[in-house]
Symmetry: C2
Subunit: 149 residues, 2 copies
């Protein structure tokens, strides 16, 4: 295939992803990640694994989810991938397929609502900050004008 199957050891993977080796093992222990293994039992991380780690970190720092909640989100997303696969599988009946796709829609919509809410709150916060900023800028302008007498 065209995809370079460069697999990284846990040290290099941790460095690339910007997390500790311990964190990678911990994520795996919680079922968030499942890298390949050599015959001897050494972990091998693909690009997809690294992307998954980035995703985990984003859900952590951006949305403030804990690892259990993140596990749920990832399970949902994996489910969607499964559904996509089943959609192209002729052994899956049409009714069943529709049901699966509906389910994935609901999952994504739920997450979207959460993100949306957070975004709205952030906007409010930003508006508040800008208002304060404007008032402080005014104060400074007044001060400069007064000193121009």
């Amino acid at each position: 295939m065209g995809s370079e199957d460069r697999l990284l050891g846990i040290g290099a993977a941790a460095q690339q992803a910007g997390v500790s080796e311990r964190a990678l093992r911990y994520y795996q222990q919680l079922g968030l990640l499942a890298p390949m293994c050599t015959a001897g039992g050494l972990r091998r991380y693909s690009d997809a694994d690294l992307a998954r780690v980035a995703h985990i970190r984003e859900l952590q720092t951006l949305l403030g989810l804990n690892l259990d909640e993140i596990a749920a989100v990832l399970r949902d997303e994996d489910r969607v991938a499964e559904i996509k696969a089943a959609y192209h599988d002729h052994r899956t009946g049409a009714g069943e397929r529709r049901e699966l796709v509906r389910e994935s829609l609901a999952i994504h919509a739920t997450l979207r609502a959460q993100v949306q809410a957070k975004r709205a709150a952030l906007d409010d916060f930003l508006a508040d900050l800008d208002q304060r900023l404007a008032r402080i800028a005014d104060t400074l302008a007044d001060l400069d004008a007064a000193s121009a007498d």
Copy 2:
């Protein structure tokens, strides 16, 4: 004055603010909060204190700051309030005032940049989600069209 000076005990204050009594004491211990005290040493919380708690929670859950970082933000904001007071104090020289106001501008701008960055990241996340949603919706539409044969 028109302001009702209704001061709450720690129990009522905790209930109002939606946090535990322990949390209120802890915030105070870290210098995030400084409620009044009765002669006997019982804490009395004003509306301003409750607003401050709300602010603390927002900085925690919305921006993901830890209590040390929040302490820094609050110190900054208190500093701005001081500056405002000094601005109306004739004992403060004009140059000094300008310096203080500039400082408060810088403080707010820094915070604003952080919030802005987070907002941008959230927007990206949302766009990504919407793209996935659209593709899933398409899949569903295809499925419905196919079943209409």
